[in-house]
Symmetry: D2
């Protein structure tokens, strides 16, 4: 098999293992925080930031009042808001600072990271640990740098969308109506 | 005088002439559209897009529900919304398309442009003409490309902020409280 | 099994089927276009645009001169450049326009889409068809809107990164050195 | 005179005073750093970040290899690069951090700020002080928050463009050719 397909298989195996090992009850609890929050704020740096934005778009489709920290029109976070920070290492400086400030303000904080003992986890109300740190021989050439974490985070959040859709009683049709017509 | 200061003087003279010639009544009318609108959407391409975003930040400070078209969490424009498109030539393709779609949806449209007969103006409820097209010998070297239009648009919108602040009864203190704490 | 894990399983099955059915020879050909191109330009709207940006970051890590169309410092596309447009429907207006202009300029164009007969494909030198259109009963609730296409595109491009890494003789270590230190 | 025009006059007076008091020799020295640098990196948060991006677009037009810190494809800063940080207070956290890291790497650093004794100035090789702090009674209602600094920074950089154009022997025609065709 060539490197392209080996890489696809490798990434998908690791992502699947990581996501299917997540605790169902924790997922439920986390989703309830979305339903309870006044507003939802997303943050991530680099590729994790792109994953955060992709999720933000779906949250808008689901009817949540959602903001991406760092974008033009984002208001200040307040008590009662939910902040989700995505960072593989959990140590990226702006992510750590965002987590600290969110906590100080009294917002609820969910950390999505590969390290439970990282700096962003210390301030988090919930840490979703995506077990993507793996040092077998193939990782570096089939899934370099943060590839496994970022793909896992993308799919984790897609799964969360399906769960939130169900809990909120949303349909694809209504989500489509909330999709931007001008871009 | 060196080129730096000549350029500053040149740009500021042209900008001032262009802005002080605007009709007071039109400014009033335009500001009333802001107060009447459900939500406000901004659009511009390139440097005009940056001017649009800078204004969007101030509208958020002023307490308007504001979105930048093309950003992650922007919802669909609806009837009752106000769309402001900034384009020097008034012919930039995505700006023209945004104007057309906004009109078709039944939103109010304000065009900020240097050409009253441009494509975006045709769909606009109000055209703010910034008279920055000037072909004296010095322009190309002291204010290349869209420099005069973009500087005029930036300052025009700063002036509008002061006017909206007055009409809406806002203070600098309250605006500061709406300023994002995490970025 | 709860909806979260059902969704993960559903998306991963569809994505895997779609990606493993791709033709190895086409992948090779496409990768050679990357090595041959003067510069690489990425474009996509909405969530597809985020997928495009995530890939752009990795291309920078791999040492390719890479730009995202629509970002601040992007230069004009020229003959000799490679343009990659990502669009599930292949009909999103700015994506279609980007494809048309790229073709007219004489750049090479790769379309990543779920529809081979779409407008962007007509101008493309290569169309990568990700077979993610599926209308079984479960799709709408487990993978709403463009979810399957976007997840497939993300993983397709991760696989391409591994392949390009091999063809270009790059190591994870060197990729890391090209990672931005200030953000 | 109504508030709109009072605001325009007020802002333009303050901006002009601030910019015309700048030292010609310092402007020359700063421009020489642009010509000497390997690559140029811009940074600013919020509205100052938009000013930075508007300048970055012109630097691309002028043929400088230019990056905006925080955008998708930005490479790591190295010794030999020039970093320009724009911050009114000079204390905005990500701006201060960017300045610190730039200095540690050994890049040249220019700070554009209203406070010479601010944190970003401490690490700067050159501080451009825009004297926009003024506490007369009118400021808060005619130019709220950072309005004076941001308008001054926009025009300062427009003046720098004219100066750099002259020093580099660039024409408007050539700048136009470097303007992005796809956006």
């Amino acid at each position: 098999m060539n490197t392209f397909k080996k890489s696809i298989n490798y990434i998908m195996d690791k992502v699947k293992t990581s996501l299917l090992s997540l605790n169902d009850e924790q997922i439920e609890k986390i989703c309830r925080e979305f339903l309870r929050a006044d507003r939802i704020f997303l943050y991530g740096a680099g590729r994790s930031g792109l994953v955060a934005k992709a999720f933000a778009i779906r949250l808008v489709h689901l009817g949540f009042q959602t903001y991406v920290i760092g974008e033009t029109i984002t208001p200040p976070v307040r008590k009662g808001d939910l902040v989700i920070v995505i960072s593989g290492s959990g140590e990226t400086i702006p992510s750590v600072m965002t987590a600290e400030i969110a906590k100080k303000i009294g917002a609820k904080l969910i950390a999505v990271t590969s390290r439970e003992d990282s700096k962003i986890s210390k301030n988090a109300d919930f840490t979703v640990k995506l077990s993507t740190e793996c040092e077998d021989r193939e990782r570096a050439r089939l899934a370099p740098l943060g590839t496994l974490f970022e793909a896992s985070a993308w799919l984790f959040l897609d799964g969360l969308v399906a769960k939130l859709m169900e809990m909120k009683g949303e349909s694809e049709k209504r989500m489509k109506e909330r999709h931007a017509t001008l871009q």
